[in-house]
């Protein structure tokens, strides 16, 4: 689950990696329309999100999370508490 604070942090990370004004980031923001979003910065973005939220994306997810909308929903799924316990801090997914 994503609260407002998490969403703000996520936007701030994208803003920092891709040199954007965070207030302009929305569901339409993607690799298609952001100048600095290339394959290299994509990795930096993924690692930054993992570092910030203590989550880990799978190899498949790495290639799919190429828009703010997809990133946001993949992250929300990982942050969703399962049996009352949040995602483990070491980045292991809770299954």
């Amino acid at each position: 689950m994503m609260g407002d604070a998490e969403e703000l942090s996520l936007k701030q990370i994208l803003a920092e990696v891709f040199e954007l004004d965070p207030s302009t980031i929305d569901n339409t923001t993607s690799i298609e329309n952001v100048e600095l979003w290339d394959s290299l910065q994509h990795f930096s973005m993924i690692v930054s999100v993992e570092q910030e939220f203590g989550v880990r994306f799978s190899e498949d997810e790495m290639g799919e999370l190429v828009s703010y909308e997809r990133l946001r929903s993949a992250l929300a799924a990982k942050l969703k508490p399962t049996n009352g316990s949040p995602a483990k801090p070491d980045g292991q997914r809770v299954s």
């Binding site: 040199e19 954007l20 298609e32 190899e59």
Partner: protein
């Protein structure tokens, strides 16, 4: 993995107002939260806002895998050290071509530093990935080729530039291809990689401008990211990037001659546990078992540094004779007097003492590292002498040794003959000078502490602690009279007696009950005798004694006394207070050789202006006792 990127209208770079706008704030912003995204954002902005007068350092990186986020980390870590770092990264597998071609980008760029970051897995894939398919001689040949190509790259760079060269050595294999035998076999891949790293070290050790970046050790501590390695040949995690860029920053500082030269050590709580002035030579913690062994470890680390050419100095608030006794006679002391190049063991403030030490050794204050366990001393030095690197020792004794060993500011220490001659002079006691710390600056510092003091009469709760202080306080103790709780309770019931204690706290916290004054009837009517006046050495030098004396005078007056009389009874440990009374307005009276007197009412001792608040007891007994 392929990420398709369309070419139609894209959002260009925008301004993110959450990112600071000047170099120093950018560094602080990253230090506050050192995430990859902050490094990237800060490094981009640094390019625009780095002050033009910062020394510019061009760093070229030769690599065979994805190292890219390193440029952001190196830029920010460089900026933290005051360098404008410009990083240029070469092509994926062009390091040999770039370094062997006279007109290549590498030489056009005129680098100050060349980083050679080559992955063994990419450089010699068969050796690393199919090691067991190779015969011994094939493996040796592959290893030899690897070293020889790096040797050629280094030679080519040295031929055409004066750049400092930093060679990454190789990570050990993540797993053991030979299973259990990996560690026993001298021909295993692990042994082979270790041998390669030794050869790289040998290349560096022959040349003054070549350093090894110990990636073997870094990768042991922080494993590479296997997913990102496979998917993008990008093995560096944020933890690895931090450590690598720390090493780069060290190299930048060392080549700029910005290493520090002197390790200045406090004594009590630093070289040994406890307080020598209170606990005596048999009571301090220093020895073969916990906790004393922790201090032995710290001393060993300092001794090792001195063998690297770092000068050691002492700066501590003690009686010099006490410290000398430990150095001369304690069986577990590691450091000897001959290891110490300069010392200030006295009751002067440490900022003044550090200036004097720097002057003795003919080095700048920016050459000093000051180590102390006391947060007050550390904060005072930080605030008065910001160019001194202050190391506040951790509370956990198991971390003491590492606190010294992990100091990264002593690389390439070069001390001139002139410096050493100065040290000799000092040893002959010919170069003692005193620097006077300007009072206004100290005042400002004390003011910033927000100190509060509370003086109270003895009660059944404080009696135990007061008795304890009379028992164990030796240094700031005018008469050294020892009392038990029982004796104090009886004494307090006598007419004309007042037993006061003082508690102090400041923005660092509550120091607790730290001082005691006892007033009894004196020889003459109207005279109050100061039977006991003492202060814990934890709070010396901050005016706490002035507050206690002020309260003593006020209380004596309230009891109807007209005069205060105090004596100093010399012991082996209380020289520091031998002139306490004359220093505080007391004077000798005709016919009285034993003490000093102060007429109450006209010139009572005052409270230092830097105290934020002072609370005195209410004068319930006013006028009751002096008879």
């Amino acid at each position: 993995m392929v990420i398709a990127a369309g070419d139609d209208s894209k959002v260009p770079a925008q301004v993110n107002v959450a990112i600071p706008g000047d170099a120093e704030s950018l560094v602080a912003w990253v230090v506050d939260k050192p995430t990859l995204s902050r490094y990237l954002a800060a490094a981009r902005r640094l390019r625009m806002v780095t002050p033009p007068d910062w020394p510019r350092i061009r760093v070229a990186v030769l690599r065979n895998f994805t190292v890219e986020p390193l440029d952001a980390y190196a830029s920010v870590k460089g900026a933290a050290a005051g360098f404008a770092v410009d990083v240029r990264i070469g092509g994926y597998d062009t390091s040999m071509r770039d370094s062997l071609t006279a007109g290549s980008w590498l030489f056009e760029y005129q680098p100050d530093v060349v980083v050679i970051a080559l992955s063994l897995e990419n450089l010699a894939p068969t050796l690393f990935n199919r090691y067991l398919t190779l015969s011994r001689s094939q493996a040796s040949e592959a290893a030899e080729q690897t070293v020889s190509s790096i040797r050629r790259i280094v030679a080519a760079i040295n031929e055409r530039t004066t750049a400092t060269i930093a060679i990454h050595n190789f990570a050990l294999p993540r797993n053991a291809p030979e299973g259990l035998a990996e560690a026993t076999s001298t021909t295993s891949l692990t042994s082979r990689v270790r041998a390669l790293n030794q050869e790289l070290g040998a290349i560096a050790s022959g040349m003054g401008n070549v350093f090894i970046v110990d990636f073997e050790r870094i990768a042991e501590r922080s494993p590479i990211d296997a997913r990102n390695w496979l998917a993008a040949r990008a093995p560096f995690t944020p933890a690895i990037l931090e450590q690598l860029s720390d090493v780069y920053a060290r190299i930048l500082k060392a080549r700029a001659g910005r290493s520090r030269k002197v390790l200045v050590l406090d004594c009590d709580g630093t070289l040994w546990g406890g307080v020598i002035g209170e606990d005596h030579i048999g009571g301090i913690r220093l020895g073969d078992s916990y906790p004393g062994i922790a201090y032995v470890g710290l001393q060993e680390a300092a001794l090792n540094l001195s063998k690297r050419g770092v000068l050691l100095a002492l700066c501590s608030a003690n009686n010099e004779a006490d410290v000398d006794e430990v150095f001369d006679h304690h069986p577990s002391m590691v450091l000897r007097k001959s290891d110490i190049s300069a010392k200030r063991v006295n009751w002067t403030n440490k900022a003044t003492n550090l200036r004097a030490i720097a002057s003795d050794l003919n080095v700048g204050l920016d050459s000093l590292v000051f180590v102390d366990d006391d947060p007050h001393q550390c904060e005072m030095v930080r605030s008065l002498l910001p160019m001194v690197l202050v190391v506040q020792l951790p509370a956990e004794l198991s971390e003491l040794r590492a606190a010294i060993e992990s100091l990264d500011c002593f690389d390439a220490v070069g001390v001139t003959d002139e410096d050493r001659r100065r040290v000799e002079l000092y040893r002959n006691e010919q170069a003692r000078q005193a620097a006077q710390e300007s009072a206004s600056t100290l005042d400002e510092y004390y003011r910033s502490l927000g100190m509060t003091a509370e003086v109270r009469r003895i009660d059944h709760i404080s009696a135990t602690r007061i008795a304890q202080l009379t028992q164990k306080t030796n240094q700031f103790n005018l008469t050294t009279r020892r009392y038990t709780t029982e004796e104090l309770t009886q004494l307090a019931r006598q007419p004309g007696v007042e037993i006061l204690s003082i508690r102090v706290s400041d923005r660092f916290g509550d120091a607790g009950l730290v001082g005691v004054a006892i007033v009894v009837r004196g020889a003459d009517a109207g005279e109050a005798e100061i039977d006991t006046f003492l202060l814990s050495c934890r709070v010396l030098g901050r005016g706490v004694e002035d507050v206690l004396l002020h309260a003593t005078a006020i209380q004596a007056e309230a009891l109807g006394y007209r005069r205060l009389h105090g004596t100093y009874a010399a012991t082996a440990r209380n020289q520091a207070v031998s002139t306490f009374y004359p220093d505080h307005g007391f004077s000798r009276q005709p016919g009285d050789d034993s003490g000093w007197s102060l007429m109450l009412g006209d010139s009572d001792p005052s409270v230092p202006a830097w105290f934020a608040s002072v609370e005195l007891p209410t004068n319930a007994q006013a006028g009751a006792a002096a008879g």
